[in-house]
Symmetry: C2
Subunit: 300 residues, 2 copies
Amino acid sequence: MPLLVVGSVALDSVETPTDKRDNVLGGSAVYFSYAASYFTSVRLMGVVGEDWPAEHTALLKERGIDTAGLQVIKGGKTFRWSGKYHDDMNTRDTLSVDLNVFEKFDPVLPDAYKRCEFLFLANGSPTVQMKVLDQVGGPRLVVADTMDLWIKIQHADLMKLLKQIDGLVLNDSEARLLTGDENLVRAGHTVRKMGPKFVVIKKGEHGAMFFSEHETYVLPAYPTENVVDPTGAGDSFGGGMLGYLASKGNFDPRTLKEAMAYGIVVASYNVEDFSLDRMKRIERADLDTRLAEYRKMLSF
Amino acid sequence: MPLLVVGSVALDSVETPTDKRDNVLGGSAVYFSYAASYFTSVRLMGVVGEDWPAEHTALLKERGIDTAGLQVIKGGKTFRWSGKYHDDMNTRDTLSVDLNVFEKFDPVLPDAYKRCEFLFLANGSPTVQMKVLDQVGGPRLVVADTMDLWIKIQHADLMKLLKQIDGLVLNDSEARLLTGDENLVRAGHTVRKMGPKFVVIKKGEHGAMFFSEHETYVLPAYPTENVVDPTGAGDSFGGGMLGYLASKGNFDPRTLKEAMAYGIVVASYNVEDFSLDRMKRIERADLDTRLAEYRKMLSF
C-alpha cells in the first residue's frame, strides 16, 4: 500500500571527527522516503527553493518515489541545516538552521495523495502536521515524529495532535523532555497515555524501544563498526518501519515488531556513509540479509 | 561446577535522586557471588575488617556461598565506597573511596579453592588478579573484570594479564579508555586482540556487547521501570553469566550467549532495590520466568 510522508527536505552540511560534507541531500522526508522505498511505493510532500538541484529529485524518482508533492518556491531558498558530531558519533551540535522556505511550508496535498492509508508526519510543527492530517481521508495508520522545539513552543498543539494519531516516534531526550521522567520505560508509557496507541523511543546507537498497552520491548541497534555519519538515522529507521508496515498492509503486534527490526537494519546502513550515499548502493536483498543476521544475533 | 570469585567486599553508601542507604552490603565479589549462587556453587575470596557485620556473612552462606576465603583482618576496617547517582540513574559520582583492608589485600587461596575450574577475577589490581591466577591449578575458564584505575596506573600489568585470561568484562567507558576508540564495535575487537578469547562490554541501561573471533553481538538490557539502585549491576551481570557457564560446565558460543542473557536478567533484578535487597526476594524460577520474557521480547 502506498505510504505518504510529509516533512522537511534539506541541504545539510555535516562535520564528523574525521570528515565533512557541504550541502548534501538531507531532510526528514528525504531520508524517510528513501528508506521506505525499499518496501512500498512512497509519496513525498515537502518544499524546496529555486536552489534545489534537479539531480536530487531525479535520485528520489529513480527509487520510484512520487515527488508530485514536492513544491518548488520561486525565489526561495531550500531549508539548510549544519551540524557537527562529537567524537562518540552519537551526540552532535547544531551549528546553524536556516528554515528558509520550510518556515512557511503550507502543505496542500495533490488529490492523488489524499487517499493514502498509511501516513507519516515527519519533522514539522504540530500545526502543519495537523493540517496535513485533516486533508487525508480516513487513513488506516497515522504515525508522527516530533522534536524538542515543538515540545517546548507548541506544547498544546502537540498534545492535541497526540490524540489523533496511532503512533508517535521520538528520541530518548525528547521523551524525557515531554514527560519529565528520566526512566525511558515509564516515559514511553506516559507518552502513550497522552494519546497514541503505540510509542517508539529511538536511542541512537542503543536501538529503539516500543510501547503499547500490552507490550514493552527494546531492540538494540545493529552493531556496525563503520559509523561515518549518523544524520538521518532516525528518519531512515522510521522509513524502514513504516515502509514495511505499509507493504504488509497491517500493523498487528507481530508485524510492528518485524517493522521495528527492518527500521533498525535500514538505519544501520544509513549511518555507513554521508547523506544517502550508502543507501544508494544497497538493494532490498541487502536489507533482508542483514535482517537475518540481526535476527540470529538476538536468538539464544 | 564450582565457581571461584576473588574481588572486593564492601560497605557502600548510596544516594539516588529519591532515596539513600548507608553502609549497606556491597562489593564486586559480593554482588557477583550472590548472582552466581542461583546457578552453581560459589567460593568467595575477599577481605574485610573487624567492623564487618556477621549477618552479611550469614546472608551469603544462606545461599550456599562458601565464605572460607573471606579473610577478616583484626583491627582493620572494611573497604567503603560512597556514590551518588545522577537523575538518569545511569551515571554516578563517586563521593569517597576508603580502600582500608582492601588496599593490602593479599589473597592466599584455601586449598579447597585451588582446583576451581571456573574463575572470575573481579575488581582488583592486575597484580592481585595475576597472583590469584597463579594459585589456581589448570582452570578451564578464567574471566576478569577491570576498571579505569588499573587501565591508567597498571597498564603494563593489565596487558600481561590479558594474555593469560579467556575473557574480559569491562564497561563502555573503560573499553574506550583502553583502546582510544569511541566506536564500541571496533573497541571490543581491539581489546580481544590484546589477548582474551572473548570480550564483553557492559553498557549499563543499554545492555551488553559480546566479541569473539567469529562473533559480534549486542543484547539490550531487560527494560524495567523500577530502577532503584544500579550499584552492582555489572557485577551481578558477571555473576549470572559465569554462574550459568559454570553450571553448564562449558562455554561454547551458544552457551556463552545464553549466559549473557542470564547475566542481563539477573542484573535487571539487582537494580530494582538497594544492595542485595531485591535479589534476596527472588528464586531461580524468577530468573527463568524473566529469561523467557526476555527471549520472547527479542523474537520477531
